[in-house]
């Protein structure tokens, strides 16, 4: 749940990047951290293992300016993607306002994406949230790999697998080159802010 301070006119919004292991959640945040340096006052926090895998979460606070006189502070989080870390994934999802589901477009990751999305559905249920109601954006990441001869799933297949029932906005992206990283972020911020506004009115 977003936190709203009426006196200081500050709204804190929590957005979580979710997805299977090695799909590029942290890479998304790292790109945002580099690209929007001037809007980010503090360092990105990464809790990771020696092998550079996310252990708990990455955290990036982001200042978006004002809407109707309210300062919007966006807090970006990623979850650890590895299967064994579901308990921590669930902890990070506490109080979430918007989610970017990062799917790995590589052909061999097809099943992992589906499993991860199903688990997101279950984890949200444990907080009495619904995957069908919460602001959600799909990102089909690693689309650049097809230029390197690595088999990548066609968008139609990814849409069929992951987005046929949800029907949420989606982007092809390449977190490593930055292609559509900002577009994904913009979309999830606007969906989330609109949803918070609706809840308040």
């Amino acid at each position: 749940m977003s936190f709203i301070n009426l006196r200081d006119k500050v709204v804190q919004v929590k957005i979580v990047y979710y997805g299977p292991g090695r799909c590029g959640k942290t890479t998304n945040l790292e790109y945002i951290n580099r690209k929007f340096k001037e809007q980010i006052q503090s360092e990105m926090v990464s809790l990771k293992t020696h092998g550079d895998r996310t252990l708990f979460f990455d955290f990036l606070p982001f200042h978006m300016g004002q809407i109707k006189g309210y300062d919007i502070k966006i807090q970006l989080y990623t979850v650890p993607g590895q299967v064994k870390y579901n308990a921590t994934r669930k902890l990070v999802l506490k109080g979430v306002d918007g989610i970017v589901f990062v799917a790995d477009a590589m052909e061999k990751q097809r099943e992992k994406n589906i499993r991860s999305l199903n688990q997101l559905h279950e984890n949200l249920q444990s907080y009495k949230e619904s995957i069908f109601k919460i602001p959600l954006v799909m990102q089909y990441n690693k689309i650049d790999l097809k230029d390197h001869g690595i088999p990548v799933l066609p968008i139609a297949v990814l849409q069929q697998d992951l987005n046929s029932r949800l029907q949420v906005p989606y982007f092809e992206a390449s977190a490593i080159t930055g292609y559509n990283v900002a577009a994904t972020l913009k979309k999830i911020i606007s969906s989330t802010v609109v949803s918070i506004q609706k809840k308040l009115l």
């Binding site: 749940m1 709203i4 301070n5 926090v45 955290f59 502070k73 807090q75 921590t88 506490k94 979430v96």
Partner: protein
């Protein structure tokens, strides 16, 4: 409890409690956060320069981890947590299921005295919330 939005009166009341019970005692910084990592309010001496947003995110994660550990050993919760450093110490204490009070203090305050004051502060803060219900 609707903690998602706090009004001016509640905030001022809570800040006054933090000031009277903790800052006057010599605490560097007192922060109230929720378990999702949002900052509810901060009161400090004006001298501290902490990155409180990152701090809140990490503190919420830290507390959630400890809570999960408590369940593993058959406890319902570990309601307080203390980290001791060379010059700076951090004390975490649960206000209720959703809120956490964090105090940062130096070497010149004894932990026992701080804990007494934290308990009193929490008691008073709970009353401020209860009024709103």
């Amino acid at each position: 409890m609707n903690y998602g939005i706090v009004n001016q009166e509640q905030l001022e009341h809570i800040e006054e409690i933090l000031f009277q019970k903790l800052i006057k005692l010599g605490v560097d910084c007192a922060i109230i956060i929720d378990m999702a990592g949002n900052i509810i309010t901060v009161k400090d001496t004006g001298k501290s320069k902490y990155d409180i947003y990152s701090f809140a995110a990490l503190a919420a994660g830290n507390f959630a981890t400890v809570d999960a550990m408590a369940k593993l050993v058959g406890e319902t919760e570990f309601s307080l947590l203390f980290h001791k450093g060379q010059d700076c110490n951090i004390h975490f204490s649960k206000i209720d299921d959703e809120l956490l009070l964090i105090t940062m203090f130096g070497r010149d305050i004894s932990l026992g005295f701080l804990r007494l004051n934290v308990v009193e502060a929490i008691d008073q803060i709970q009353k401020v919330w209860a009024k709103e219900e």
